[in-house]
C-alpha cells in the first residue's frame, strides 16, 4: 500500500462522485472492480487459490494434516487461519510490520467461520476423540489495493473449494491404537462442502452514502464503515465496524441490509465461477505468468 496523500480538492471530487452515484473509475456505489481468480497454483498445498481484485493480490494455500481433535469437540476437525502480510506489498510490512493488519484479518476470519452455519466440521472427523483433519489455511497478502477483507474471504473460500482431502479408512483396532489406512490413489480424494462458507462485504461510508469495494483513495476519504460476513444461505455470521469515525444506528441497519444482499450475490457468483473453473482443463493454468 503505497502511502496515499489526497488534497482537499481530490477528496471533494470523490465525495461528489459518491453523491452522484458515479465513482472515479466509473462504477456505481454497489459495483465491484474486476476480479481475477485461479485455483490450484501451488502443488505443495492440498488446495490453493490466487485472487486479484484490481491491485489487491492474495494467495491462499490450504494444507491438510492429521491431528487429534480438541477435547471439548471430540467429533470435529479444525480450521486454522494464518495471515501473512508480505513485504512485497509495501516496505512497511517488513519484519513484523504487517502483524497488526494480519491479526485483524485473521481474527475476523476465525469469528466468521466459527458460526455453525458456515462449515460442517464433523466432515473433518476421522475417529471420534482420536483423529481428525486439521486444515491450515495460510493467507499471503502480496499487494494491497484496497478492500482486503473482501478479497481475502473470496480467496479463502476458493482455496477451500479446491482443497482435496485424501480418503482415509480406519482399518483395524489394535488394542486401543487405531490403524489408519490412507488410500494409495492420489486422486482418491473428497472435497468439502463449501456452499455456505462466508463471503465478506466491506461497506464504507462517504458523506451520506455508503459504497462497496472501496479503492485505497476512497478508504482514505471515509472515516467509518462495516465489514459483514454473509454465509451462502444468506445468514450474517460476523459484523465489525471499522475506521475511526462513528455510525448512526439507522445507517448501520440499512448498511447491514445492503451488505447481506450484496454478500449473497457475491457468494452466488463466486460459486458459479468456481464450478466453471473446475470444469476447465488443467493445462490452461496461467498463474503469475501473464
Amino acid at each position: 500500500m503505497a502511502e496515499i496523500l489526497l488534497s482537499e480538492a481530490e477528496k471533494a471530487f470523490i465525495h461528489h462522485g459518491v453523491q452522484d452515484d458515479l465513482r472515479c473509475d466509473g462504477r456505481t456505489r454497489l459495483d465491484y472492480r474486476p476480479i481475477i481468480l485461479e485455483t490450484g497454483l501451488v502443488s505443495n498445498a492440498s488446495g490453493s487459490a490466487r485472487l486479484r481484485l484490481a491491485n489487491s493480490d492474495i494467495l491462499v494455500g490450504v494444507k491438510v494434516e492429521l491431528a487429534s481433535p480438541s477435547p471439548d469437540k471430540p467429533q470435529e476437525g479444525r480450521l486454522e487461519f494464518f495471515v501473512d502480510c508480505s513485504a512485497n506489498a509495501t516496505p512497511e510490512f517488513e519484519g513484523r510490520g504487517g502483524e497488526d493488519l494480519a491479526n485483524e484479518i485473521c481474527r475476523f476470519l476465525q469469528r466468521s467461520y466459527a458460526s455453525g452455519d458456515t462449515i460442517n466440521l464433523a466432515e473433518l472427523s476421522i475417529l471420534s476423540g482420536q483423529q481428525c483433519w486439521v486444515l491450515y489455511v495460510d493467507i499471503l497478502i502480496l499487494e494491497c489495493g484496497g478492500n482486503l477483507y473482501d478479497a481475502t474471504f473470496m480467496a479463502v473460500k476458493s482455496a477451500l473449494y479446491a482443497t482435496q482431502i485424501p480418503s482415509i479408512k480406519v482399518a483395524t483396532m489394535d488394542g486401543d491404537q487405531p490403524e489408519l489406512e490412507l488410500s494409495d490413489d492420489p486422486y482418491d480424494t473428497k472435497r468439502l462442502n463449501t456452499e455456505n462458507l462466508p463471503c465478506v462485504v466491506t461497506l464504507m461510508k462517504i458523506g451520506n452514502h455508503y459504497l462497496v469495494d472501496p479503492t485505497p483513495e476512497e478508504e482514505c476519504c471515509s472515516s467509518s464503515g462495516i465489514v459483514v460476513a454473509v454465509s451462502g444461505n444468506k445468514k450474517i455470521t460476523a459484523v465489525r465496524k471499522i475506521g475511526s469515525g462513528s455510525l448512526h444506528p439507522d445507517s448501520l441497519v440499512s448498511m447491514l441490509k445492503t451488505g447481506s444482499d450484496v454478500g449473497a450475490k457475491v457468494n452466488k457468483t463466486l460459486m458459479i465461477k468456481l464450478l466453471e473453473e473446475k470444469n476447465l482443463e488443467k493445462s490452461q493454468k496461467v498463474g503469475f505468468m501473464r
Binding site: 502443488s43 505443495n44 512485497n88 491450515y136 503469475f288
Partner: protein, 246 residues
Amino acid sequence: MSGNELLSDQGLRIDGRKPNELRRIRCSLGIFSQADGSAYLEQGNTKVLAAVYGPHEIRGSKSKALHDKAFINCQFSTATFSMGERKRRPRGDRKSTEMSTHLEETFSAAIRTELYPRSQIDIFVEVLQADGGNYTACVNAAMMALVDAGVPLKDTVVSCTASLVKDVPLVDVNHVEQSGGSPELVVSILPNSGEIVYMSLTQRFHIDHLSKVLDTAIKGCKDIGAILNEIMKGHLTKLDTSLQAS
C-alpha cells in the same frame, strides 16, 4: 538416498534430466504495479516472487545510512505452505535471516551503490513453492526485479547450483537431489566478467573434483544468464512497442 538412485545407469537424473540440463525457467516482469520493480520466476517447481523498492530515503533508524553508498536491505521469506511440511513462520528463523544476509552481500556487489549515497534499496523475495535451489531462484528473480525497477547494475547477477553424484557433476539440483545427502555448491556470478560474488558448499567431496563442479555451476549460471537476457529483451521490446503505440 544413495547416489545410485540419483543417477541411473543410463545417465539420467531422478526427474529425467541429463546431468548438464537445467530445469525449465519462466519469468515475467512488472507483475505488481505498486512496487518500483517486480518479477516472478519459476525454476522447475521452485516459484519465487521478488519486489524492489527504491532507491529511497533511509527508513527507520538513520544510523543505517552509509555516507558514500546506498544501503541494500533484503528480506527473504517463505510462504508457510511452500514446502511439503507446513512452516510455522514465514520469516525470522535463522535460515531466513542467513538467506537475507547472503542476498544483501550478493546484491551489494552487483548494484552500483556508489551512485546513491545515504539512500536505501529494498529487495524483498518470497518463495511461493520450494523445490530446491531456493537461493538461486531468489537471486535470479531479485535481479530481474532490479532490472524492472531500473536500478543501475555493474553486471547482471545470476546464480546456479551444482552437485556431484558418482563423480558426475549435476547442474541445478532439485529438492530430492539436495536432500539426498549429496554435496551442493551454490555460486552467484557476474556473467560478463566471470567474477564470483557468492559461493557456498555443503557436504564434502575431494578437492580434485572442485574445479569440475565449479565449472559446471558457472556454466549453469551463464546458461541461465542467457535465458534471462532473452526474457529481459522480450519484456523491454514489448514495453517499447506499447509506449510507441500510446
